[in-house]
């Protein structure tokens, strides 16, 4: 690919320098914003091949470029469609493999429930 720069360090004129491995290691390898109301659909993403509406409140994310192992860090938040200040939802992640992660959304009663939007990201090493 054209425009390739090989560098171990980036240096600012006054603010100091940073090793480029901080950038490589610290950037999200997968991210997505999903409209999970009705028939779910991805609104925007990177490195995702599909989402699976697994059951009520459960969504599985599958990556295009898988991770090197299943010990990556995954993050997710949810929001209601109407932006109301009702019961907040909590997310849990399950069954991580190098190519998929499953998010479960529950309400304060512990019931799996659908949300309006899900945003998620993955940090770690790519395969």
């Amino acid at each position: 690919m054209a425009g390739k720069i090989i560098a171990d360090t980036l240096e600012h004129s006054t603010a100091g320098s940073i090793a480029t491995n901080y950038v490589v290691e610290g950037s999200a390898k997968v991210w997505a914003n999903v409209n999970a109301s009705g028939t779910p659909a991805t609104q925007d993403s990177n490195n995702l091949s599909s989402i699976t509406d697994t059951s009520a409140g459960v969504t599985t994310f599958t990556f295009t470029n898988g991770m090197n192992d299943a010990n990556y860090a995954s993050y997710g938040t949810v929001r209601r469609t109407d932006d109301s200040n009702g019961n907040p939802y909590l997310t849990g992640y399950h069954l991580p493999t190098t190519t998929t992660v499953r998010f479960t959304i529950i309400d304060f009663n512990g019931t799996e429930t659908d949300s309006g939007y899900i945003s998620m990201s993955i940090l770690g090493d790519l395969a």
Partner: protein, 152 residues
């Protein structure tokens, strides 16, 4: 837009190029499948940026690469991938039609037990449909099964 010659380029770099240069394609196709008698039907939804890559060609690796990596991961002593180079160094696949892309995606993202014998039981375990054919509300979501009407 012509895809650059990506032979040997890291797959993530190819995806980043696609993200910057291709418009996402929101497919109307959905794949409904049942992989457990105890669970409701699952609905696979293609990612728009992935679909753009599939239609463009020259970006995605052949699907057998994913199967090889899945075999490695299924080993009991698996710790991390040692053949990730297959994703990056295998010649990317040419442009697909939307229907071909869905077939590729089924073989990549659905359980192999579903797509290898999807029509061998009393009723199909998998159906490709349009999203308009799915229920428009989430009522009784955990009881959804592939109906005769959808299977037809």
């Amino acid at each position: 837009m012509q895809t650059p010659d990506f032979k040997g380029t890291h797959l993530f770099d190819r995806l980043c190029w696609a993200k910057e240069n291709l418009e996402g394609v929101q497919s109307d196709y959905r794949v409904v499948y049942e992989d457990s008698v105890d669970e409701c039907a699952k609905i696979l939804v293609p990612d728009p940026n992935w679909m753009a890559c599939a239609l463009q060609g020259g970006i995605l690796p052949p699907v057998w690469v994913y199967h090889e990596l899945a075999k490695d991961e299924a080993q009991p002593d698996f710790k991390k991938h040692t053949r990730g180079y297959l994703l990056h160094q295998t010649e990317p696949v040419p442009a697909m039609t939307e229907e071909e892309a869905i077939e590729y995606l089924i073989m990549k993202d659905c359980p192999q037990s579903v797509w290898t014998n999807w029509d061998s039981g009393n009723k199909p375990k998998m159906v490709i449909c349009k999203k308009q054919q799915l229920p428009q509300t989430r009522e009784w979501r955990n009881s959804w099964r592939i109906s005769d009407e959808l299977a037809a």
